[in-house]
Symmetry: C2
Subunit: 139 residues, 2 copies
DNA sequence: TCCTACGATGGACGAATTCCAAGTCAATAC
DNA sequence: GTATTGACTTGGAATTCGTCCATCGTAGGA
């Protein structure tokens, strides 16, 4: 679908079998996987891939700005392949599922200079919390 | 200053020496401490207090809504005693320092029903990221 | 094809947090 | 004041998530 692989190659990202598989996993699934889930899916295609390699690759994709890291509470970080369109997240407080949302409004514009305490503000993350329909049904 | 202890007692929170010390630490400092920092300050008054006890007490204070848990990336969670006045956070991406901020706007109102995916949305957290003056000066 | 720097490996390590079984104690009842 | 009891505390083990490191392998240029 997307040209993630192609983009990476153009940017000079050294392409190995392992890195390709990690990128393909992220590219294929438009959900928010944990590092462990990425490892599991990658290992399905390339059984000898190592956990450290997956962490390395994910870390570089984050640095390259191709993937966003989403920290939710005490749980494992999740990796969001949809780094290009600006969006925020809706997290289920029971199961940790994440959905992308596009609220109106501009959080950055809502923070006046008097509330910035001399910080150089570079961005804002908005996280909505709630229970997903599945968890609500399971009551 | 505050009546945190009094409130807790009224709510039937069983008061032990350990719990009192943890509550006093949070009540005294209006900063955002990690569990370890709470332990250190508590141990200064009650040397034999155990780490597990601090975690237990913090967990209950969070459940009671007296303290907010603030997860910042891969670092240790921080505990915010200012749970009663609604506010958001400005985090230094270098040193992890947190400041309370009060932006205008209402994130919840900005999320239309069509973007809620059947979730029961209970709240929104807004986290601004940037560099604090100290870290910027240190360049 | 050959080189070589960069990537992969996996096991050890580390930080933060939770779990557990046994001992202790605050609050209530008498 | 004493007895009672269920809730709280303890500390060490266990878990979870992630990083480090020395060694081995290989992608991609010459």
């Amino acid at each position: 679908m997307s040209d993630l692989l192609e983009r990476l190659r153009r940017r000079g990202w050294r392409m190995t079998a392992q890195r390709r598989v990690v990128a393909e996993v992220l590219d294929g699934e438009h959900v928010h996987l944990t590092a462990d889930e990425v490892l599991a899916r990658a290992a399905a295609r390339l059984p000898e891939i190592s956990r450290a390699t997956v962490y390395n690759a994910l870390g570089e994709l984050v640095l390259l700005g191709e993937v966003r890291e989403v920290a939710t509470d005490g749980r494992a970080k999740r990796y969001d392949p949809n780094a290009h369109r600006s969006h925020h997240h809706l997290v289920c407080s029971d199961c940790g599922t994440i959905r992308d949302v596009h609220p109106g409004g501009d959080p950055l514009a809502d923070l006046p200079a008097s509330e910035r305490f001399g910080f150089t503000v570079s961005g804002a993350e908005l996280t909505y919390r709630g229970r997903c329909p599945d968890c609500a049904a399971r009551t």
